[in-house]
């Protein structure tokens, strides 16, 4: 199986503090990289590196065997990144937010009402998102995962403020994505409960 995403001797420095160094991993199609660690251990920084937003202090990230910086456009086309902030504008409604993201990723969204309804947002499609609860806003943000065709998902704390039922639903969706040959990199303080065929764990230690 070909390796989709790999890190070689990656290190990251923030405010003169070494968050991690000499980090290596390889992700093939169908694999999850589950990153754990204390607050401030560098989980989000690692995700931002992997999303191509920042450059590593040392080492490199490989996408299909080639360094990321040599093919940023190609990589970005294959990537879906949902960071710590949801990417949802609170003044817009759930529908308007979805329309924005579907237009940006060139994905036609056949039936947004049905999708939002299936995520437990029936009847809330037309009110501005600042009136929704934190968990409901998170659902609007994650709704993107149901109409994307990008193989690489990088998700920062996707389970935050979701209820058990939706977490189970989301993990089912992860399994489908992996079965279709995708890869997922995610951070979470919660343990994963679904049976992932190939789960790779990475524990970041908090370092002074």
């Amino acid at each position: 199986m070909s390796i989709i995403l790999a890190a070689e001797a990656l290190s990251c420095v923030r405010q003169d503090r070494v968050l991690f160094e000499n980090l290596n991993f390889q992700l093939s199609a169908g694999q999850v990289l589950y990153i754990q660690g204390k607050n401030g251990a560098g989980k989000s920084s690692l995700l931002r590196l992997l999303a191509g937003l920042t450059l590593p202090e040392d080492g490199q990230i490989l996408f299909h065997g080639k360094p990321l910086f040599a093919q940023p456009e190609l990589y970005a086309e294959q990537l879906l990144f949902i960071g710590h902030q949801s990417g949802i504008h609170p003044q817009l409604t759930a529908l308007q937010n979805l329309a924005f993201w579907s237009a940006l990723t060139d994905q036609q969204l056949a039936d947004p009402y049905q999708l939002l309804g299936s995520l437990g947002l029936a009847g809330l499609e037309d009110i501005p998102c600042f009136m929704l609860s934190a968990g409901q806003q998170r659902r609007v943000s994650l709704a993107r995962l149901w109409f994307t065709n990008k193989p690489v998902w990088i998700l920062d704390e996707p389970f935050t403020s979701l209820d058990q039922q939706l977490i189970a639903r989301l993990e089912q969706h992860f399994l489908q994505h992996l079965a279709a040959g995708g890869v997922i990199v995610l951070t979470s303080h919660q343990s994963l409960s679904a049976a992932y065929p190939e789960l790779k764990s990475l524990e970041l230690e908090y370092r002074w």
Binding site: L79, H84, H89, Q96
Partner: protein, 221 residues
Amino acid sequence: MVMWRALVQRELQLLGRQKADWLNPLVFFLLVLSLFPLGIGPEPGMLKQIAPGLVWIAALLSVLLSAERLFKDDYRFGVIEQLVAGRQGLFSYVTAKICCHWLSTGVPLVLVSPLIAVLLGLDWQSWQVLVVTLLLGTPVLSLLSVLGAALTMAADKGGILQALIILPLYIPLLIFASGAMEAAATALPYTGQLAVLLAFLLFALALVPLAVRQALRMNVG
């Protein structure tokens, strides 16, 4: 194109929800200009003489006022971070922002210009030149203020910083726009000044969107 239309639609929806963003600058513009006849005295000759500079200074400040919040929300809620990671939509997003900023601040100034002409006692000819300078100049104002907003979006209180960065760039515009109006008021040819304004516009149109995109990337990275 489909993407661009959706992005413009989003900006318009946001402007519809946050009316203060475009109403405040317009009200500010009108307030400043209506105070001058009261402060300086309503003598038509005097007002007519200083009108070109007045209108353009008020326009500069009101556009500057509108730009500060331009990227703040999208930055705070992670929209820009995800756009930068996705790359392909970023340029369309920038151009949609610029277009909608001009539609919401530049165009209203042109629309209220007849009222300004009455307040400041401008004649028909001077008003026409005012409209032409506004049509050529306000897009440049929008382009530059979007650039200023992009550079300062991560700064907590970016307002003054933005003014410091952008105001020097406004000055040539101010000189040539009010120059055109003064020339027209004294029946001199003014096409030269208009041509310079047009050159500013084309130059800014070509370069500023790229600079804004780079500024957004820099601020996220």
